[in-house]
């Protein structure tokens, strides 16, 4: 029997997939707590449902593909996909909406392309776009934040709405839903109301959308934690946020009648979760340092363009998928110079 003597230092590896993914989930907790505070417990039902479906689908697909189930199922990547998708769709979505999106994300966007590490597109965003394109009505039925709702929902009625479509009191999702701040901004600019007036309504807070600003702040805080733990690098989020800020700033300066303020755009919708948690996906994004800057800038620019001139109130998902498509090209043109090599 051979005894291998190992020498110190004995360090736990910090760059394993499982650890990274757990850090990502951990960093999302405050923002999810904020979402529960503002939109009620329905968010938690969605997340649990998405997690269950995602882990089941992952296990079945791994089995079908004859891959070892245990190491892959515990790496947490399917869980991250599920949570990202679950917080992106409206809290009171019917159960089949969540299930369809998660299944498509795991089966089509991830495993048909070869599983973790091989997917050219961000699975959560593929699922989201599938739902947005196929079920526009359900996907735009958001809840107003709790303090504005005339009918706050408890856990029980949220459960009934998600699984049976209506509560004991006969409410359907339409009874309690309302437009999001980004939605309102877009529609009312379309009716040529000045953005400076629009933000005076009670749907808006002092920074962005009421409630949404806190969710964005907590996502940003989680992102900064991930930066600190070196799970993600600063290039993508900073490039994305800076690009959005500059673009919306210039537009706001010269054409204030068509856009909300830069602060509004950074603090509404999915900006911060997009910047820190979605665009930073190491698999589907750029891998070179310069490439990450280009990638982030592209996501920021496309998001802003879609928000202001596009057909949808928010554009994170489309922007990320479009830039995913460009990622190999960006990587090709931003290869760092090998030390000592001459061209």
């Amino acid at each position: 029997m051979a005894i291998f003597r190992m020498s110190p230092p004995f360090l736990a590896g910090t760059n394993r997939v499982t650890i990274q993914m757990l850090q990502v989930i951990f960093a999302m907790i405050p923002a999810i707590a904020a979402m529960v505070y503002f939109f009620g417990p329905a968010v938690l039902i969605n997340i649990s449902l998405a997690l269950t479906v995602a882990l089941l689908a992952e296990a079945i697909l791994l089995k079908l593909r004859k891959r070892p189930v245990k190491p892959f199922i515990t790496d947490g990547s399917a869980a991250v996909t599920a949570i990202l998708l679950a917080v992106a769709i409206p809290p009171l979505s019917p159960w089949w909406l969540t299930v369809t999106g998660v299944l498509f994300a795991i089966v089509f966007a991830k495993h048909l392309y070869g599983g973790l590490g091989y997917n050219p597109f961000n699975p959560a965003m593929v699922g989201y776009v599938l739902l947005l394109v196929s079920f526009p009505l359900e996907m735009t039925t958001w809840l107003p934040v709790e303090s504005l709702a005339d009918k706050p929902l408890d856990l029980h009625s949220a459960f009934q709405l998600i699984f049976y479509g209506q509560t004991n009191a006969g409410w359907v999702a339409d009874t309690v839903s309302g437009a999001t701040p980004l939605d309102t901004m877009k529609t009312q600019i379309g009716q040529s109301i000045a953005p400076a007036y629009i933000v005076n309504q009670n749907l808006f807070g002092s920074l962005g959308g009421l409630g949404w600003e806190w969710i964005n702040i907590w996502f940003a805080a989680g992102g900064i934690y991930l930066l600190y733990r070196r799970v993600i690098s600063w290039h993508v989020p900073i490039a994305m946020i800076a690009t959005m800020f500059v673009l919306s700033g210039v537009t706001y300066l010269f054409a204030p009648e068509i856009t909300g303020s830069p602060l509004f755009h950074l603090m509404s919708g999915g900006t911060m979760i997009g910047a820190f948690f979605i665009a930073t996906d190491p698999v589907s994004g750029s891998t070179t340092v310069k490439g990450r800057l280009v990638f982030g800038a592209g996501v920021g620019a496309l998001t802003y363009i879609i928000r202001v001139w596009g057909g949808y109130p928010d554009g994170i998902a489309f922007a990320v998928l479009l830039m995913n498509m460009l990622a190999p090209l960006i990587d090709y043109y931003t290869q760092p110079k090998v030390y000592g090599a001459t061209k």
Binding site: F108, L130, V133, S134, F135
Partner: protein, 228 residues
Amino acid sequence: MNPYYQIVKEGLWKNNPALVQLLGLCPLLAVTNTVINGLGLGLATILTLVASNGFISLLRNQIPDEARLPVFVMIIASIVTIIELSMNAWFHDLYLILGIFIPLIVTNCSIIGRAEAFAARNSVGPALLDGLMMGIGFTAVLVVLGGMRELIGQGTLFSQADLMFGDIAKNFTITVIDNYRGFLLALLPPGAFIGLGLIVALKNVIDARVTKRQTAKVEASAEVATSS
């Protein structure tokens, strides 16, 4: 093996224009949102394929080799024009739906592909059969894909059958799922790509199974031969 049987097998399965050659994807992906649309375009393609294969095979000794492609294209274009005008006259509503894709049959690569690869080198009989079988193979995929997308997209089958079969077909529509919410993606172009991908994958799985079974059989018989 009987050469005619070989032609049938090539067209329907082994060398299926839609699943193996992946030719004619433009109409294949664009119009297959219902069974009837797929069937309509499929029938038009069968007609074109049979006629063009027949004519080109008849004329193969007259066509100078250097100028064969322009001649093929002209023959195919004339045939497609005849079919287009006839559809406009007799199936006008279907013609309106299939629209640009009827004249686009001219550019369907599988037709000129068969002309070049088969009709120009074989006598009329096999050429006609090849056109028919390739056409049927293509149509089968169009119909299956159309059925998949129609079922998932709007929960029905054979909707708008009256466009093709006249008023008696008004109630051909089978509503498979009542009060279906609709799944828009299946009816949009991405649905066509995903659907075709799944059908190609299914074909490959079946082929792999068949090959596996055959090799197993060969090995088993070889074993029997050695042991006896």
